[in-house]
């Protein structure tokens, strides 16, 4: 259950600073508008509880917390561009969602002998989402990279305002196909949090199965993508085939390759009888065997492995500073995984996969995903030992009916959904996905590397553009 604390604008920074000093971490920031007035809120997350600190911005400006929590940089830039909120102390406040022609308004100034720019995108050479990267390079060495996303900004957050909670679910769903289960589960949890509902055992198990099936096809995809990043075609094709089989399992069990429509608010949306559960489990067991064999082959593929070590390093210090989440953080040696200690799903006693001597390079991000695939297969093996029932979320406490927070470990890391309700309707929905949290880390890991290695580094994070451009 989340608590909300309203503070005076002058006390805002001190309140956030105190929370950070106590070990809480920045988990997202968003603007809400009520009767024309802007309110700025930030989420602070501790291992168990989350809380929200809010302040009003009567004159359209609040104090920036970017000096306290660098992870808030994108949130503040987005709030400025989409809601016109100013952040005192955030200088320069570069454009993020606004696409200005003036390079000084959005790019890092980089100058020196032989420095030049390479512009890539928004349309890329392969089948890739739209986004623009501006590299500042000397020769082939990248000095810095500016990321410009929001080409596909669809205004989903604003468009869902005023809908009832079931109507707004469709918008959270549409944000991203590859994270559809994680995003909608976070949304459903946020609504349930606001209403004081708790998922029963059946609903928790069903949602956990769906989340792990989503992780399965994504991780298989990501391993294939890293192979593609170095042009190792056999690995690309083998893992593309494994991914397709995982999606065929999704389609057979839940009638959709991306598991669309499997999450509802306050109730389950899927069930699986004894024989369907057994079939799914058997298909997954076979896929696990083949995945293990394919992975062993990759480990001994010299032409692949020789390209990965020491490339695109994101070390633990920087990952903490930038607020990196998910496999990218774990590959840097941070043992954070929302599945550990989770109380709203069925991850009882779960321990996140970890690497010995994690350095945070491309090789580690690849190895970590392979290790996580094993834990995912084991979880599914265990959870699919019984038929799946729909389940429901039941009222078990008094709640605010106003604000709710949902947090789910998506394939790419912690994804947060904030919901503000007003008269039974969604007044504000804010989706802060793992991709959103991690894009600044990609730019950081890219600096100092060679330009031809960028696709590899980018694919080792394999973030969604759609999850940002919601």
């Amino acid at each position: 259950m989340s608590t909300q604390q309203h503070v005076a604008p002058k006390a805002f920074c001190a309140a956030v600073s105190q929370a950070l000093d106590a070990g809480e971490r920045f988990g997202g920031g968003w603007v809400s508008t009520r009767e024309g007035a802007l309110t700025w809120s930030v989420l602070l997350v501790a291992p168990v509880e989350t809380r929200v600190i809010s302040c009003q911005a009567p004159r359209g400006s609040v104090d920036s917390i970017v000096e306290l929590a660098e992870a808030a940089a994108w949130d503040e830039r987005e709030a400025h561009d989409l809601y016109g909120l100013d952040f005192a102390g955030h200088s320069p406040l570069r454009a993020l969602a606004t696409h200005t022609a003036d390079p000084d308004r959005w790019m890092t100034p980089v100058s020196g002998d032989g420095v030049h720019q390479v512009a890539v995108g928004p349309i890329h050479a392969g089948v890739i989402e739209s986004g623009h990267f501006r590299f500042h390079v000397v020769g082939e060495r990248i000095l810095a990279m500016d990321t410009r996303l929001f080409y596909k900004h669809r205004g989903l957050e604003r468009a869902c305002e005023g809908h009832d909670v079931d109507g707004a679910l469709r918008y959270a769903h549409r944000a991203c196909a590859a994270c559809a289960v994680a995003n909608t589960t976070a949304y459903a949890q946020a609504v349930e949090d606001a209403r004081g509902l708790s998922a029963d055992r059946d609903l928790r198990v069903a949602r956990t199965v769906l989340l792990e099936l989503e992780r399965l096809y994504n991780h298989l995809h990501d391993i294939g993508a890293i192979c593609a990043g170095v042009g190792y075609a056999p690995g690309t094709m083998a893992f593309a085939a494994l991914k397709d089989r995982a999606q065929q399992i999704n389609a057979n069990a839940f009638a959709h390759r991306f598991l669309f429509g499997t999450v509802a608010v306050a109730s389950g949306a899927v069930e699986l009888d004894q024989s369907a559960t057994a079939d799914t489990r058997a298909a997954l067991r076979e896929l696990h065997t083949d995945t293990a064999a394919a992975w062993r082959d990759l480990e001994f593929a010299g032409s692949l492995q020789a390209r990965l070590d020491g490339v695109g390093i994101l070390d633990e210090h920087d990952a903490r500073r930038l607020g990196t989440v998910g496999p990218a953080a774990r590959a840097a040696g941070i043992a954070d995984d929302l599945r550990q200690g989770d109380t709203r799903l069925a991850y009882d006693g779960f321990t996140a996969a970890a690497l010995d001597a994690a350095t945070g390079d491309v090789a580690d991000r690849l190895r970590l995903r392979a290790a996580e695939l094993d834990t995912t297969y084991e979880l599914l093996e265990d959870l699919l030992g019984r038929p799946l029932a729909r389940g429901a979320a039941l009222a078990d406490r008094h709640a605010s009916e106003e604000l709710g927070v949902g947090r789910v470990e998506s394939p790419r890391g912690a994804t947060t959904c904030i919901v503000e309700l007003h008269d039974e309707r969604v007044a504000r929905l804010h989706l802060r996905t793992a991709s959103y949290a991690n894009w600044p880390s990609v730019a950081h890991a890219t600096a100092g590397n060679l330009l031809p290695d960028f696709p590899l580094i980018n694919k080792s994070f394999e973030l969604c553009y759609a999850c940002v451009d919601r």
């Binding site: 696409h99 928004p122 349309i123 050479a125 392969g126 089948v127 890739i128 989402e129 739209s130 929001f150 080409y151 596909k152 900004h153 669809r154 205004g155 989903l156 604003r158 468009a159 469709r170 918008y171 549409r174 944000a175 991203c176 196909a177 590859a178 995809h221 094709m237 593309a240 085939a241 991914k243 397709d244 999606q247 390759r257 991306f258 669309f260 969604c464 553009y465 759609a466 451009d469």
Partner: protein
């Protein structure tokens, strides 16, 4: 360079050549505002279960090499310009395919102000592939049907360029 490219494009169009062996289609994909589902499935048509390349269908890196512009997503205001640029860069004859329900303006979700308009109103759409997202099988089926139309007769747009040139000597 652009003058040369335009000249070459005009020559190719005016020459009125039919495709020598019309058994391939080069596809250029543009994500105009999708949720990434169509991209995943478009990638899947190249996987070993579908291997669309065996039919002569291939994704190419540049619109200048492409026969078909395959558009995913509802066109956002910020992608309308790049989409138009990609289309303009394609040599004639060219086709446009709308991939997925969003590109076909079915059940689009979002704020109206973020979208540039229906793809159909921005570019001439020749091939429609519905689905959310369309399965790799459905994508393959529609693209192969387009290829079959192309192979079958000279009446199709792709086989015979539009008669806009002066064919007189």
């Amino acid at each position: 360079m652009f003058v040369l490219l335009r000249q070459l494009s005009t020559i190719r169009r005016d020459a009125g050549l039919t495709r020598g062996r019309p058994v391939s289609l080069a596809i250029r994909h543009v994500d105009a505002g999708s949720c990434n589902g169509c991209e995943h499935e478009l990638g899947a048509v190249s996987n070993p279960f579908h291997d669309l390349q065996r039919f002569g269908l291939d994704i190419v890196a540049s619109p200048r090499h492409a026969d078909i512009l395959l558009v995913t997503g509802a066109v956002t205001t910020r992608m309308a310009g790049p989409l138009r640029t990609a289309y303009d860069a394609m040599p004639d004859p060219r086709l446009v395919a709308g991939l997925g329900d969003c590109a076909l303006a079915l059940n689009v979700l979002g704020a109206d102000s973020e979208f540039a308009g229906r793809l159909e109103d921005l570019l001439p759409v020749d091939i429609r592939i519905p689905g959310c997202p369309p399965t790799p099988d459905a994508i393959a089926e529609h693209l192969l049907a387009a290829l079959a139309r192309d192979t079958r007769s000279g009446a199709d747009q792709l086989s015979t360029p539009p008669v806009t040139s002066n064919s007189a000597p």
